[in-house]
Symmetry: C2
Subunit: 226 residues, 2 copies
Amino acid sequence: MPQTVHPDHKQIVTADVVLLTVVEGRLAVGLLTRENEPFAGRGALIGGYVHADKDRDTDATAARVLRDKTGLEGFFIEQLATFSGPKRDPRGWSISVAYLALTPLQRLTNVLGEASRVSLVPVDQARDLPFDHGEILAAAVGRLRSKGAYSTLPARLLPEVFTLTELQATYQIALGVPRIDKSSFRRKLNELALIEPVEGLRAETGGRQAQLYRLRQEISVFERRL
Amino acid sequence: MPQTVHPDHKQIVTADVVLLTVVEGRLAVGLLTRENEPFAGRGALIGGYVHADKDRDTDATAARVLRDKTGLEGFFIEQLATFSGPKRDPRGWSISVAYLALTPLQRLTNVLGEASRVSLVPVDQARDLPFDHGEILAAAVGRLRSKGAYSTLPARLLPEVFTLTELQATYQIALGVPRIDKSSFRRKLNELALIEPVEGLRAETGGRQAQLYRLRQEISVFERRL
DNA sequence: TGTTGTAAAGTGTATTTTGCAACTAACTTA
DNA sequence: TAAGTTAGTTGCAAAATACACTTTACAACA
């Protein structure tokens, strides 16, 4: 904490959101075409200035920015890390608190038309992002991959109600692994009591109907032994 | 990232470091007696303003602050999280990038005398810290506890060279568990090839001399299955 | 209406990992 | 040289996990 007088440097303080979802079995990031300089016309993370007068904290900035730019609210969002330095923004020394947001694709359908500026790009094709957004995206994907293995993060990529097959497929995509064993996966879900069944079955496909489940919101991170 | 004109609010941007070590078998945090208002005379985390002109990024701020206030360099340090809001600092809306630093107690001996302003307080006795430093401390301890179980973080609380018994004791303290099984602990260390023996034995105590080891720097985080 | 295709859900078991306890080794002290 | 202390190893039972296979439930269609 400050020991000396507040220095007079004007610092750019922003929040940037990495909005991830699953498109055709692949992780995709929501990018916004920039209207203003710098990098006007390029696709970048969803971000904006922190407004000290109206934002309770940077979490609120992230939520506000997401709401303003997509028109939607209630995303799952958590703080990722903070990026800073003189080079990352051509306007000068800047600091950006980055957030990871996860959403089912279904929520975004209204936002994706021609009219909107939001586009979804597979994460492995999102190259040459402006600022240090490539680095921020890599950190977000890394967080999802590593924390996903011991948390319910990947479930946030699905609607509130889902089948176990959908959940497993989503974990596989989020973790970037080819295949998780079905019985192991379900055994863990039961042991940890992460999910609970809800009324109703899902038909959709040609076979047996699947039981629907939702997250039991209490638990989100579980333990590992040494 | 910014879409609009840079707002004119002057935001306080700081870095705060949670310096943890082990004192008499317990986790302790390094606190600094504040010289200036607000909270002059109280013990607080080691922090300072980000200087956009001389700090490469906030990581550099944290390292600089730690060096300036303790006179020491080369601490293990990693970014923790960022705290912000209008209330946490009485001077106004502020944002603080918090860092977790770990050190062996031995490194601090010169800094702890009467002359120095650094004091070590057991983490469970560090109550009523100024600003939101209590919350930041809790986040740091939480990070060490959770990430410690699948990383070499706890080893950073020891000197570069250590015995396996010391390492195990340190893991137990860092993770806050009463006892880890000796053979399981050593089996894992070997499987993961986290450490390597160095020349020399440690006598110290009344029994058999212990082989000395150091971290193999390549690996710091290891995996778990689902 | 019975056969076939498909996906969900459950079962059995071999294998791996872990936890516990005892044991051997090396050194100090008296 | 006997007793005390800590380091390091080993064997085995119990638990957790991965893999293959079976059963259940539904749709489509001859």
